[in-house]
Symmetry: C2
Subunit: 392 residues, 2 copies
């Protein structure tokens, strides 16, 4: 065999082996099992499970890890798709993968469900109010302990411990995921090199946001079928939940988007002036989308995640300052320019507070008129910026 031929064979073999390890976009759900987990509020849960996914390969030193934290109604499915399911692409697929900001040729990307994930699709692998309480043999319902952003972080920490990971190149996430990312910086400052907080409420939940999130929960509490949270296996509070989801849906968009997409169009050729049944297109679509999405959501879990957001304050201490002080990571604050839920002003305020405390902060905005959701649907616009931030 001539040397050049030998080289070719070696290269072919190497490429083949490397590909076998490389992330090819097909992902699967894994499950973390914890015998117990004690919440920040001091309640101990038994037999805790949390679904998670990984993309790319953990290196030998286990120091090429990026943790992705999901948003309010998200799951750990941040990238790729499941075998045989073409439509199930993860929400941040645009920036996770070969050659992308979170480059799976380079990084090992981990993404875990939060406790009490609100999607029924996570029921088989993630613990929440729907789960059977081992002590009673019945679903927890509203007896599930109140959980906080710190609890989501602590469960992720247990997962990383399990995988033998001691260092994070970055923790990143949109919205509720940004709160977890910043909380990571304060909770485990020596582990986190960078925090990427996208469409973030900042370092604590703003009082207006506390109230607005409370409004989201109201229609569930108003629905008699909610029944104090005791509805599993019975008629569910679908009407209330649909109205709750309708509020969420509207709050994550911007009027620019609404103008482009709907304008003042009617839902049909029937004038809304002529009857209470005749709707505008935007109302009709919102109602239909919300009813459909509510079918996949657990009402109790919705309430728990709202509460976790309301309770958010970096470090979860008595004051915000002590939380800020603990952070050692470089922080990237990345609001969406047209966000009407977590205004860019919230991100600016956070950046200023971190800067004042002597932290390394970069602030930039995602352009667009898509509102809060630009941090998910148009995260590709920040791909280069994130790449640069990771390189420094």
């Amino acid at each position: 065999m001539k040397p050049i031929r030998l080289l070719a064979v070696f290269v072919a073999w190497f490429v083949c082996v490397a590909q076998a390890f490389a992330y090819d976009g097909v992902v699967e759900k894994k499950i973390l099992n914890l015998p117990t987990y004690t919440t920040l509020g001091g309640k101990t849960l038994k037999d805790v499970k949390v679904g998670y996914e990984t993309y790319g390969k953990l290196n030998a030193k286990k120091d090429n890890v990026i943790l992705i934290c999901h948003y309010f109604s998200g799951t750990s499915h941040a990238a790729g798709k499941y075998a045989g399911e073409e439509k199930s692409t993860g929400y941040w697929n645009a920036i996770i993968g070969s050659g992308k900001a979170f480059d799976t040729d380079k990084y090992f990307v981990v993404s875990a469900d939060i406790l009490s994930n609100l999607n029924k699709a996570t029921f088989p692998f993630t613990t929440g109010p729907h789960s059977i309480d081992p002590d009673t043999g019945k679903p927890y319902g509203m007896k599930f302990p109140i959980v906080t952003i710190r609890d989501f972080v602590n469960v992720q920490k247990a997962l990383l411990d399990n995988l033998g990971i001691k260092k994070l190149v970055a923790v990143a996430g949109p919205s509720l995921g940004s709160m977890q990312s910043l909380e990571w910086g304060a909770a485990y400052p020596d582990m986190v090199e960078r925090v990427i907080a996208v469409i973030t409420p900042g370092l604590e939940f703003d009082p207006l946001a506390i109230a607005r999130a409370g409004l989201w929960s109201d229609p569930i509490l108003l629905d008699p079928k909610w029944n104090g949270g005791d509805y599993y296996g019975k008629d569910e509070p679908s009407a209330g939940l649909a109205k709750a989801m309708k509020q969420v849906t509207l709050d994550v968009y911007h009027w620019g988007w609404a103008n482009e997409k709907f304008g003042q169009r009617w839902a049909s050729d029937k004038n809304p002036r002529d009857s209470w049944d005749n709707k505008f297109a935007i109302e009709d679509t919102l109602d239909r989308v919300s009813e459909a999405s509510a079918a996949g959501v657990d009402a109790n879990a919705f309430l728990y995640i709202v509460k976790s957001a309301q309770l958010y304050r970096v470090g979860h201490g008595a004051t915000l300052d002590e939380g800020i002080k603990r952070i050692k990571a470089k922080v990237l604050i990345l609001p969406a320019q047209s966000d009407l839920l977590f205004f860019p002003a919230y991100g600016k305020r956070a950046a200023e507070s971190l800067r004042k405390a002597g932290k390394a902060v970069k602030y930039a905005e995602i352009e667009g008129n898509g509102g809060h959701l630009d941090g998910v649907l148009h995260i590709d616009r920040a791909d280069k910026l994130i790449k640069t931030f990771l390189s420094k």
Copy 2:
């Protein structure tokens, strides 16, 4: 009697007589009675009543008239107070009165309730879904015809006809009142010299606002006690209505206000993390304020006013352009800088459209961090500006 003494007596007499005619801040409700009124949708109501108030004195030429139109949850009580009621000051009292922008020494200021006013306090003098349908002897409920901003304007026109008024120096109003003011400009262009549109959605209702207003109504529709609008004399949908009012209340403020007033304070010394019953101060206050305000509100009327707002388009024609074309008045567009319900961008867009169509427009913003409500609670900040606008 020495000449100087004579002069003094004359001056005293003159001042005394002038005062007898001048507006002294004590006002009373008057009632307009119309045998019939036919809505824009073609439905005829019988025995229509509408409450109204006037401040100042109509001159002989009847050409010193300013019409004030009220906001969503407002009434015709725009200025002054009722005899013996110290706390009942009208909502724009800061700019209506002697020496103020709407100077009652100079102008005759008229303010009327809209049809279907949502305040129960207007039940004795203003027709709405609560009124007895002469044809059935029962309250209209949801059989009350759908009313539009144009209908509110047409009833005001009937009132002015009744008073023999053919010309308006200005029509002004905040929020829903700004829609009526602009609609006046398109409906009766030869009558209206100036339009002052404060905290305005602009020339038509923005699709995002259509959807948001729909959200306001949802909790009422979700309350079983609403009962298709048939609840008069029975148990009222107070729970749903309170949640509806809570949304309205939150939407008319700004996060700057929420930070100053509440921050992340707890409602009591009990940590919201420890129980579902423990609330943040902003939530607790909102809940209490909303429950209290809901007690004075009629749920059906609330739904009717939401609908009227959603249907708003200047001129109420097939296109916005034909409405704009009709306007002859000088227009002042006056958003509140921190408005998160009717963003200043809506006002800017309206000003641009009017300018493009060759209309005389002035655009300015009310400074502050109080949100939408700055157009009511801090209208004093625009006193000078309005005075100047009226002088040109």
